[in-house]
């Protein structure tokens, strides 16, 4: 009797702790948006050429409203031309990878899935390596890596349509197979590459960096990223229905084939757009959804916006570190793992009910 009541008390306690963690979607989004806004301003201020936050706000203000405000020399150049594209890119890429990861985890009903599951990263890597070998021009590399990513996922998707039975499982298996295939192609490219010049470039590309992003890149890739994120945001509640299981979703009147198709296309477009300007950035798409679930719970209506904000904040923060932590810039893919893994493990140990 005593032990059982103790047990329920414990359960109750644990439950209360879980519930307090479970912020409402709106308040969590507001808090995160505020954090992101502060970090956004702060990110302009730091770097090799420090700018005071006041000057940052003044500059942005003057550009937005085309005012003529006198500022210290070079400030406008640093803020607008150098840092602005990079900061926007970090937020867009972070949001894209996180939204794609969250959507895929819901779609595949599996918290271990990352945006790479259908071969996006290997396809992009192969495309980029091919671009580096045949031309080396930034734009060509981007186009080829985008194409490679789309091709890998398209192949996975069509192969899974041929597989009989469980479509979700078929998609995962096809994705793993196609991923390995494109990894082999990537190795072939590395093997064929000139070792003094091309091979290092390929290697650095695969580590990920937002160093080279310019305004043109933002315009070209930002649009598909925003479009894909918007569509996923609009239909995010349906991910809840899909997470109940394929047959139940069908019994609830959902056209699961169509829904899965739309999710796969949107996730692939945003991931490929992100990867083609940033290179391979692992870990974000896997871990941010979990942190999101710890904050607002698993309902995708709250989770997807929170994931987007968390992802943007996380990657912007990591990119800031990349810029300032050492005299040489550190590839962002390295830091996302070095910072992300311990943080995630800490949350796992401390947070109570992230998944399952």
């Amino acid at each position: 009797m005593n032990t059982s009541s103790e047990c329920t008390l414990k359960k109750e306690k644990r439950w209360n702790a879980f519930r307090t963690l479970n912020l409402s979607g709106v308040s969590a989004s507001l808090i995160l948006a505020t954090v992101l806004a502060v970090l956004f301003i702060f990110s302009f201020a730091i770097g090799r050429y420090p700018v005071s936050p006041v000057d940052v706000i003044k500059t942005l203000w003057s550009v937005i409203f085309s005012l003529d405000i006198t500022l210290p020399p070079n400030v406008e150049n640093v803020v607008i031309n150098l840092r602005f594209p990079r900061i926007i890119a970090a937020m867009l890429v972070g949001a894209s990878l996180s939204v794609a990861g969250t959507s895929f985890q819901g779609l595949f009903r599996n918290p271990l899935v990352s945006p790479d599951i259908l071969g996006v990263a290997s396809g992009a890597g192969f495309g980029a390596a091919l671009g580096i070998i045949i031309s080396g021009h930034g734009f060509i590399i981007q186009v080829l890596s985008f194409t490679g990513a789309m091709m890998a996922v398209a192949l996975s998707y069509f192969i899974s349509r041929v597989v009989k039975g469980n479509q979700t499982l078929g998609l995962i298996l096809a994705g793993i197979a196609i991923g390995s295939l494109f990894n082999a192609f990537l190795s072939l490219m590395k093997y064929a590459a000139d070792t003094t010049d091309q091979l290092p470039t390929i290697t650095y590309w695969l580590m990920g960096s937002l160093n080279a992003v310019d305004r043109q890149d933002i315009l070209v890739t930002g649009l598909p990223m925003l479009a894909g994120i918007t569509i996923l945001m609009l239909m995010r509640w349906r991910l809840n229905v899909l997470a109940m299981g394929e047959e139940e979703a069908m019994a609830l009147g959902i056209n699961t084939d169509l829904l899965r198709g739309v999710v796969v296309v949107c996730c692939t477009v945003i991931t490929a757009s992100a990867v083609c300007i940033s290179g391979i950035i692992g870990w974000v798409g896997l871990v941010i959804p979990h942190i999101g679930r710890m904050v607002v719970g698993p309902c995708h209506r709250k989770l997807l916006p929170v994931s987007a904000l968390l992802g943007a904040t996380f990657l912007l923060f990591i990119d800031d570190l990349c810029r300032v932590i050492a005299r040489v810039e550190i590839p962002i893919g390295i830091l996302t793992a070095i910072i992300g893994v311990p943080f995630f493990l800490y949350l796992l140990a401390k947070g109570r009910r992230g998944w399952a």
């Binding site: 609009l234 239909m235 069908m250 056209n255 309902c299 399952a356």
Partner: protein, 279 residues
């Protein structure tokens, strides 16, 4: 309400799977119980009634409409389904789980609004489980989970209910509670089809019983007529005794006969050989 004419369905060229020559009709307030051994095609039949699989012959009519001509969400607005096992991938709250029942009533880009939440809350209230609203579904007991599934299907506001073994995985008390719930729903006029492994459950709730073996209906009719010693021997291969309980209870029961185990010669002799006879 529901009419099935000579329906036939097989999984990929395997003539022994699925079902054939199934015909029946169901009217308001009727509860039909489908009995049959594992793998006889009960669940497959339910899935065809839901429109998840397309029939290879015959037709299913729902309120005068052929089901293959209807969109999936149109079917889901009429038929509610309680599956055998239900395990969401994430620890959704009970409210989120129940709200999913609104899916057939919402457009592709819509998500549930105030009215939908109200419907879900009143369904939870009607089943007496409002106190569970914000708990994670995955932390509930088996009986509570089944009640939440009922709340979800009520939130769907269907005109017809299909249940695949609604009492499986439940303890004795919860089984009877669920059966009472089925009766209560039927008394509001809701036609219900449920599959079961217990002939007694048919006596408790049903106005019609179909017994199924190897994909066909062996018999169909009121439980008193269909559940008899011969039919049970036919579908389950065990001897039973069907008898009236004294008048204070007022219905029949179907009892497996213990002696049958001893005379089931093959099983016994093999086991004796395996273990040796103990004194």
């Amino acid at each position: 309400m529901l009419e099935v004419h000579n329906a036939r369905f097989h999984y990929d060229s395997n003539q022994h799977s699925g079902f054939r020559e199934v015909s029946f009709s169901l009217r308001t307030g009727q509860v039909m119980c489908v009995l049959g051994p594992n793998g006889c095609g009960k669940t497959t039949m339910l899935k065809c009634l839901l429109g998840l699989f397309r029939l290879q012959g015959g037709s299913i009519w729902l309120d005068g409409q052929e089901i293959s001509q209807m969109t999936r969400s149109a079917v889901a607005r009429i038929i509610g389904y309680i599956p055998q096992m239900h395990q969401p991938a994430f620890p959704f709250s009970v409210l989120d789980t129940v709200l999913v029942g609104r899916a057939p009533h919402l457009g592709f880009l819509q998500s549930p609004g105030e009215t939908d939440v109200q419907i879900a809350n009143s369904a939870l209230e009607a089943l007496g489980i409002s106190h569970l609203t914000n708990k994670p579904y995955s932390q509930l007991s088996g009986g509570e989970k089944q009640l939440v599934t009922f709340a979800r299907v009520l939130t769907q506001r269907p005109a017809l209910l299909l249940m695949d073994e609604p009492t499986s995985h439940l303890d004795f008390g919860n089984q009877i509670k669920v059966l009472n719930l089925v009766q209560e729903l039927a008394s509001t006029g809701m036609p219900i089809i449920m599959t079961s492994h217990f002939p007694d459950h048919a006596f408790l709730t049903s106005s019609k019983v179909a017994i199924m073996k190897q994909g066909t209906f062996l018999d169909f009719g009121p439980p008193e007529k269909v559940i008899n010693e011969y039919n049970m021997q036919q579908i389950y291969g065990v001897k039973v005794k069907v008898m009236d309980v004294d008048s204070s209870v007022g219905y029949r029961v179907c009892l497996p006969l213990k002696s049958d185990f001893n005379s089931s010669s093959e099983q016994k002799s093999n086991l004796e050989e395996f273990y040796g006879k103990r004194s």
